[in-house]
Symmetry: C2
Subunit: 477 residues, 2 copies
Amino acid sequence: MMKSKALKIVLLVCIILLSVMIPPPEGLTKEAWILAGIYLAAIVGLVSKPYPEPVVMLVAVALSCFTVARFGDSPVKSGDVLSGYASGTTWLVFSAFTLSAAFVTTGLGRRLAYWFILKFGGTTLRLGYVTALLDLILAPATPSNTARAGGIVFPIINSIARALGSDPKDSPRKAGRYLMVNIYMVTKTTSYMFLTAFAGNALALQLISDIFNIHISWVGWMLAGMPVGLLMLAVIPYIGYKISPPELTKIDNVKIATSGLETLGPMNMKEKGLVVIFFSALLGWIFSHYLGLNASSVAIIAMGGALLFNIISWNDILQNKGGWNTLIWYGGIIGLSATLSKEGFFKWLADFMSHHLDFLGAGNETIVIIVFISILVRYLFASGGAYVAAMVPVFATVGLVTGTAPVLLALAILFSNSYGGCITHYGGAAGPIIFAAGYNDIKSWWIIGTVVALLTFVVHMVVGLPWWNFLLNSGML
Amino acid sequence: MMKSKALKIVLLVCIILLSVMIPPPEGLTKEAWILAGIYLAAIVGLVSKPYPEPVVMLVAVALSCFTVARFGDSPVKSGDVLSGYASGTTWLVFSAFTLSAAFVTTGLGRRLAYWFILKFGGTTLRLGYVTALLDLILAPATPSNTARAGGIVFPIINSIARALGSDPKDSPRKAGRYLMVNIYMVTKTTSYMFLTAFAGNALALQLISDIFNIHISWVGWMLAGMPVGLLMLAVIPYIGYKISPPELTKIDNVKIATSGLETLGPMNMKEKGLVVIFFSALLGWIFSHYLGLNASSVAIIAMGGALLFNIISWNDILQNKGGWNTLIWYGGIIGLSATLSKEGFFKWLADFMSHHLDFLGAGNETIVIIVFISILVRYLFASGGAYVAAMVPVFATVGLVTGTAPVLLALAILFSNSYGGCITHYGGAAGPIIFAAGYNDIKSWWIIGTVVALLTFVVHMVVGLPWWNFLLNSGML
């Protein structure tokens, strides 16, 4: 472990040293070249993880500040390196993370789950659909997959599986195996339906917007993602049910839900307040255009409301480590990316690529190829965020070079970064949590994941592309 | 408690409602007027504390985002409101807070303390001077008074007092009472000697710079503050010794220090690493001009180094709640202040004041009056940071109106915000920690505090002003 960590650090140091020693290619300044080396090292660091993500980013920020200072006459300043911390994207994610935490701490998430189970959860299959419905309803205000799938849905489904007598060791096939893998596939699907349903979405959109110079609103994102997402949600619980059929089909949902609701007691003021905040945020995002607000402001105001009315306390926020991790590393990568952009790096990269990618055309087939590759490389990434930071700028640059329709390609990549994570049990933060319950084997998980990912891919390419094109042409994006 | 909290909230709501209902005065837009109302409410909130500081600021940021969005054609954007989070000042404080924490977690602070006690701590009076020396040496890299005085110096002096048989209840006068109050007076003095010796310094400098358009470097600050500070450090332990004389004068310092050093064991790698980082940061700050670095970049690079070499872990940072509190509320207030500045609010305020302050001239006597008032109002403030946010912009604006030498007034106010806190036992974050040990009575604390504060005031006015003027004229500031 120590040895592998040392090797990883050596690799990162080598990347940066190479950028310092090798003279910059034509069209790039020495400063931009070294900053690109630091950026690449940061991304390799995010993937190989010799340190936690925020540490990797803070060190990269420190090195970038130093580099910028060494080149006194540079077009960028240390303020540019830090600019990501004032980015609306960073605060959108941080604020919505706070709301995610509120669904866990107030108990509202659990209450919703038991209500749905009471109403609709009479069979194992229907429980699969209840999972989808619950995740869908929570999704718009819970960009933390860890909070939504790992913190709300998973604990309840896990305790239900145990209550049904499905033991991870002795009888995983009774119900747990199906229910567990279904949570993950479902959350990876709802994740691409709303800008605020997955932290990586806002980051990816920010990185893409820097390169393509496009704008996609919260509503535009929903209009593009929701129809294809709903289509997939309609079949995913069934796919898992067929590939990994549970032995138990009937469930005494009334007993489970009633006892769960009894434990929660009557709905308290905090939960009621959260319902109001949640719907206000939803309305805010939907009508943001008319209100003159952007998605980030809506999220910040929602967080402000939640704090003002004590729905979430400052202590809850302090203890919400995921929020701080994300604030530090998203702010860092957004700042570095903006700095590189200002240095003309992505323009240079596009020029450079255009000499080597002339076999790719401007048509939709290029989008299909890029998206397919984007799914394949997800095998290498244990974090949706790291994948976004590493690959999204590259795919966007390739698209820029080939001249494909930027918004169509953008949507296709933005969505594939969620459902591409289906293919492994480590493709997103919720995966390892669910997998650790012990019900699942890698083989059936990966088979279901591959089927879901490929089917989603086909639906997005065959149904999605024409639909997004229609939205674009009719001015709804 | 609940009732007083509700009253405080009602007051804040009233302030904001008044700014919405009362039409703006001539020279200010409706938007600027409401933003000023939110700013005022935030400051009153920081002082009255119905919520923790970060919550007050996040709600103020949310309201400001909303206000900015409602006025579509405004000169400021929601990005301006968030700009404080990318401010070098915010990151200077956050990074140096991390170093403060490292002195506590690695044990280096305690080791230094025992070394000094071993070498110089033979009498109670000399222990008072050891406290001053220790605090002085730690000061440049520990802007957290809580970490320096509360986390490093206090626990050791507290355990020494107990070891000497001085009990808070039965025998406070034996040694504890003197030693405790001395910690506080000393740390309030070192706090103004370096830009990085107190979190509020960077915040105050940022706020003042926005109004006066001046620049004071890390070295300039030290040159101005250190001579007067050293003068005061030479007498403060003696003042406390005379006003609150300890009954015990001799101390078996060798026994105490040896046993303390034995507990710590040999110096470990983390401590050695921290020594290197500490001196690098110090050299970085001193020679920042030649390196092309600013003070913030030096601090960020030092933090990066500490993380890279595992001197402090990400988990230590996550648990360092003071750092997160400061990040959120400093970033918020700096952003709000920058937004108001962009809206022309402080210019308007200066114009407005100039009609009512024409009895004040441009000479040094105005500086003397302002600084004296700045010390008096410290009775009302239970936090150095809240005082800075509330009063420093006002005093700076008054100075701007009267036309006093901006740099001289700036230094005088920047320094008085630290030593002004001497006058009460709640004037700075370390105060309540030390007071809670139980050795001190309010009366003797306030008497010593008043003597120290007034003497410092006289020294700063009589010796400081000419000295700062000399530095200014010789181009060293």
